[in-house]
């Protein structure tokens, strides 16, 4: 960004000075590149290397092969990968569908205090995850949870330790996250657009269908990607709550990398991580071009 700005400066008389500034501008990127290289590149390379390395459990000799990768895409590991994608997609879509109207209500509300309160609460709840969240739900809705016993939910077939139980727990932090992400975009919807639409005889549905949603689409998609990633990478909550009852790739990685049963599965864990990176990359690849196209609208 800095580079582009300095280049745009019209100062032909001071050419040497400009060149120096441009050079220092480029230099300024170095710390970022160095940091990215160290904090991101090295682990990524180590992961790639490990995922492609096969270790003989008996002798410890290593060789390169795609055996781990293919193992990570078969049987229980594949089930877990699909399970993770399914869980993340379902909870992200649900959270987006529930978070959008909530955010809209808050944004258009005449009560400033309500807006402040909801946004503050969302900021806190969006970061409420991990084992504390799992415990809160176990204590409330688990087998001997307060609500389960008081309302007799167990007899009605309620089970927190299932796919849908996990979706509900994930919604608890995903909806606030959605509210936080989408509020700025909703603020960007001008009242004039709605008024103009109404003056031209558009119904509320038409306004949303043809004006608001297309403008919001990139932010909505961005929110979805964020929620998907948040749910996809979540580990501690699921580990504490469902153990192995819902197949999830993060849990499989943990089992493979630090287990008491299977020997020498570390590299399969790295291959699974690589699969996760690829899935995340695919999701981003869908989102980025769309976002670029429609970012112009809200600028």
């Amino acid at each position: 960004m800095t580079v582009a700005l300095t280049e745009a400066e019209p100062a032909p008389a001071a050419a040497p000075r400009q060149r120096r500034r441009r050079a220092t501008g480029r230099l300024a990127v170095l710390p970022l590149l160095a940091f990215t290289g160290v904090a991101f590149g090295i682990p990524a390379l180590a992961m790639l290397n490990g995922a492609l390395t096969v270790k003989d459990p008996a002798t410890g000799a290593t060789s390169y092969s795609t055996a781990n990768l293919s193992a990570s895409l078969h049987g229980a590991y594949l089930t877990a990968l699909i399970g993770s994608v399914k869980l993340s997609a379902v909870s992200a879509v649900l959270a987006a569908a529930l978070g959008l109207p909530l955010a809209q209500t808050v944004v258009t509300s005449r009560f400033r205090a309500l807006r402040e309160a909801v946004l503050t609460a969302a900021g806190v709840l969006a970061n409420f995850g991990g084992v504390p969240l799992a415990f809160a739900f176990v204590a409330t809705l688990g087998n001997s949870g307060v609500l389960t016993r008081r309302l007799g939910l167990a007899d009605k077939g309620w089970n927190l330790y299932s796919f849908w139980g996990l979706v509900i727990v994930y919604l608890y932090f995903l909806i606030p996250l959605m509210v936080l992400t989408i509020t700025p975009a909703l603020d960007g919807l001008r009242t004039q657009w709605r008024e103009a639409a109404r003056n031209n005889g558009a119904t509320a549905f038409q306004y949303w269908r043809h004006v608001a949603l297309p403008v919001l689409l990139p932010s909505l998609l961005g929110g979805l990607v964020l929620l998907f990633g948040s749910a996809f990478a979540a580990y501690a909550t699921a580990a504490a709550m469902v153990g192995s009852a819902v197949p999830l790739v993060t849990l499989q990685i943990a089992d493979a990398i630090s287990g008491n049963v299977l020997v020498g599965q570390e590299n399969v864990a790295l291959a699974l991580s690589l699969d996760m990176v690829l899935v995340a990359g695919l999701v981003m690849a869908v989102y980025l071009p769309l976002q670029r196209r429609s970012a112009r609208w809200l600028a």
């Binding site: 800095t2 501008g25 300024a28 087998n143 469902v242 192995s244 630090s258 287990g259 020997v263």
Partner: protein, 384 residues
């Protein structure tokens, strides 16, 4: 703004270099403990080889510290063992990552080779001990009682030996559950809806894996065939009895896992621990699916405190250490020998859950095969 950034670059670069330099600073100092005749502790293969137990004690005291890993204080009385060792020899025992797994231990050994932060001693599942020995990570050391360890429970080169173990048992909260189950068959009864838990995930936790093995033996399986165990849990899941909550002291205390399949020494420990809190925890070893297993002790070949590591083994395999395990309801490996020698704590032995017959162990090959079956089939058996 741009003017300041090169300096930031230098600063950041400097920090990165400093961080890299710091992380390389863990290398072990050269302080080889030597015995009476100048023998180094790191290569001593027995106490006698080092110049006697007294020489070993002296060298270990000089080292001052024992760095252990993955020893939970509430597991098989490890808390008392650690305190006992510290008090007897005045050597500080550091335990890192108390809830770690066998794989975590191996990772710590391989990734910190030659550093003074590496673990000295390891408490491993047998197959991990085998694998670590084959990779050349373990030191050969015969404890004084080595000959008394039953055949089949020790490595011929003394790189590892079994220490304590137990049977798969069913723990049950007598207040929450009307009639406590005493066999795997009982667990299928509809009255135990949502109440039957395992200690973890059998593809990760050894106790849970053993639970599946025991269930297999109870349902027509064998050491060669663990599938009936998976089928049993699939049935348990299908009729709603299985709860995926992994049992821990906390879930037992809170009643979230009123029926828990776990090692008998852990279940018996819960009974003691929570008696004062009004929990009536009953422990039985199911008669239809008896499965027993022992954990192994080993010394890191590159232990930063080699003398202390060897002294720890001597302590564990002495009468004091073995009886402390027994007081934690774990069955020490030297139990038969100590019974003969009269050093066994008879009161503690009488408190163990009853079993009939002698334990049998699956071979390494049988175990590996079973593990592959469980790794592939467990998710399918209980998910949904």
């Amino acid at each position: 703004m741009t003017v300041f950034q090169p300096r930031t670059a230098v600063l950041t670069g400097g920090l990165v270099v400093a961080a890299l330099a710091l992380s390389a600073c863990g290398a072990a100092p050269d302080k080889a403990s030597t015995g009476a005749d100048g023998k180094s502790a790191a290569s001593a293969t027995s106490a006698a080889d080092f110049g006697g137990l007294d020489a070993l004690v002296k060298a270990a005291k000089k080292e001052g510290t024992l760095h252990a890993i993955a020893l939970p204080r509430d597991w098989a009385n490890y808390g008392a063992l650690i305190d006992g060792f510290q008090k007897k020899y005045g050597i500080k025992v550091e335990v890192e990552n108390p809830d770690g797994s066998s794989q975590d231990e191996i990772n710590a050994v391989t990734s910190r080779k030659g550093q003074d932060r590496a673990p000295d001693v390891l408490d491993l599942g047998t197959s991990f001990a085998l694998s670590a020995a084959q990779q050349g990570l373990l030191a050969s050391y015969e404890v004084t009682a080595y000959d008394d360890i039953p055949e089949g429970q020790k490595d011929a080169q003394a790189r590892w030996y079994n220490d304590y173990g137990g049977y798969i048992s069913i723990g049950c909260d007598d207040k929450r559950v009307k009639t406590c189950p005493t066999s795997f068959k009982d667990l299928l009864k509809p009255e135990y809806k949502g109440q039957v838990a395992l200690n973890g995930n059998p593809t990760k936790a050894a106790a849970a894996f053993a639970g599946v093995y025991a269930a297999s033996l109870a349902n027509g399986g064998s050491f060669d065939d663990i599938q009936p165990g998976l089928d049993f849990f699939a049935r348990l899941k299908k009729n709603g009895n299985y709860t995926p909550v992994e049992s821990t002291p906390a879930t037992v205390e809170k009643g979230e896992t009123p029926i828990t399949i776990d090692w008998d020494y852990l279940n018996a420990g819960y009974a003691d621990e929570f008696k004062s809190k009004g929990l009536d925890w009953k422990v039985v070893v199911p008669d239809d699916g008896m499965f027993s297993q022992y954990y192994s002790q080993a010394i890191n070949k590159d232990a930063p405190h080699p003398a202390a590591a060897r002294l720890w083994q001597e302590y564990l395999y002495g009468a004091e250490g073995q009886n402390l395990w027994l007081q934690g309801y774990a069955r020490p490996v030297l139990m038969p020998a100590m019974e003969k020698a009269g050093t066994l704590d008879k009161d503690a032995a009488a408190k163990l859950p009853e079993v009939s017959g002698t334990p049998a162990f699956p071979s390494e090959d049988q175990q590996n095969k079973a593990k592959t079956v469980v790794a592939q089939g467990w998710g399918k058996a209980v998910s949904g």
